[in-house]
Structure formats: C-alpha cells, structure tokens
Amino acid sequence: MQRFALMLAVVCVSATTTALAQDCSLSGTVGSGGSASAGGTSASSVGTAGACQTDNGTSSSIASGGGAATDGGKAMSNTHVNDNGDKLKARTKAQAVDKGTFSKSQTKTTTDGDSLESTTRTMSHVPGEKPVKSRTNQTIIPEEE
C-alpha cells in the first residue's frame, strides 16, 4: 500500500519595543522562498521579515514556514524562531526522502531592527544524477538616505 507523508511547519513572531502607533521613519521587508522536487519527493520553504523604525523604537516581525511530501518515504519539516528582544531569527527546514531520492529546502531569515536578511537554499537529488541546487538571498539595511 502506498504511503503518503506530509509535514508542515509554520511560525510567525513579532517583537515591538514601542507602545505608540506612529509613522515609520524607516522601514524595510525581505523575503525568500524555494522549492525542490525529485521523483516522488517535494520540499519547500519560505521566510519573511520586516522592520519599522520610529522615534520611540523599532518594531520587527518575522514569519517562516515550509512543507515536505513524499509518496513512499519520509518527510519532515520544522521551523524554529529565536526571539531575543528586537532580534528575531527564523529557520525552516523541510526535507522529503524516498530511498536515495530526496528534496530539501531551507530558509533562514533574520532581523535585528537595523538590517534584514533572508536566504533560501534548495536541493534535489536522484541516484545516478547530478544534484540540482538553488540559492537566493536578500539583505537590506534601511539606513537613512
């Protein structure tokens, strides 16, 4: 009997160091995502973050999630967020493995209120073939212009 495995993980967190709602003097957002598939395996992950600076402090938010699926092997997906004041880090790993065939996707997103970065790496592999990889990254520093 064919077995189907599916794993999902999603986490979102926001950190606010100011109590007043006012215009952002500086703001920025980043995001990255990717997907990989091979044979009967598939994995994908995404992550985004944003920061808004005001005279009274910085508000930051972060979100990340992913999923993996296979029609005969094992699938796992997990997201971890580290909230340390106005410094937020999120990492999502998604992986599906069916014997020698696998698909992976990993997204790391960080913000400390001054800079934002999101990176996604994906990889798929079929035995006897060259692995297929992809990577994307965005980094911004919402400095005064």
Partner: protein
C-alpha cells in the same frame, strides 16, 4: 518554484501597487526600476513570498497601522514528479520621500511613489 509562480508574484505586486507607467530609472547599483505612480503608501509595506508551485506562502506586513507591525503566515504542500530546485527572494525599502523600492531575485525592480 516555477516561472509561472514567479510571474504571478510579480504580477500581484504590480496589481497591488496600481497602474505601471513606462518611465524607468537606474539605481546606483545598475538595477533598472519601473516607476509606479498613484499608489498610496499610508499603510506601511509588505513582502510576500511563495514557494512550492504557489502552495506555500509567507507574508510580512510592516507599517504604521494600529499595532505598528503584524506578521501572518500560512502553508500547505504538494509533490511533483520531475527533479527541480528553484528559489525566489524579494526586498523592499521605504525611502525618505515615501517611495518604496522593491527588488526581486528574478531581476525585476519597481519604485512605488506615494499618492499626492
């Protein structure tokens, strides 16, 4: 992520921003940006990323609304038969004049000006 998915993301961003004009400018790093006029930037800014043939999405909105920042996320998944690996990223930044510069990893870029 398929080309179609990327195209949908870009199209959605442009539709959200309003009507695109033909005018473009070149940034310091050589990136050519299309200028989008007539969009009101009163609610902050947001980034949305989609992967897995549009089945996994994550979005973050940051702005000067009531709670000053919000984050939302949702996900589901699907499997595909052919071997592939792809990724997509985007970054947005608000400039001092209120305009928002958005760069994407597919090479597209846009500048959204605030309504006057």
């Amino acid at each position: 992520m398929s080309i179609i998915t990327k195209s949908l993301i870009v199209a959605a961003a442009l539709l959200t921003a309003g009507h695109a004009s033909a005018e473009s400018i070149t940034l310091d790093d050589g990136t050519v940006c299309t200028i989008i006029e007539g969009h009101s930037v009163t609610g902050g800014m947001s980034t949305s990323v989609t992967a897995g043939n549009g089945k996994v999405t994550s979005s973050t909105t940051t702005g000067q609304t009531a709670s000053s920042s919000t984050a939302t996320s949702s996900a589901s998944s699907s499997s595909a038969g052919s071997a592939s690996a792809d990724s997509f990223s985007t970054a947005s930044k608000t400039r001092a004049d209120g305009s928002v510069v958005t760069k994407r990893s597919d090479g597209t870029c846009s500048i959204t000006n605030p309504s006057k």
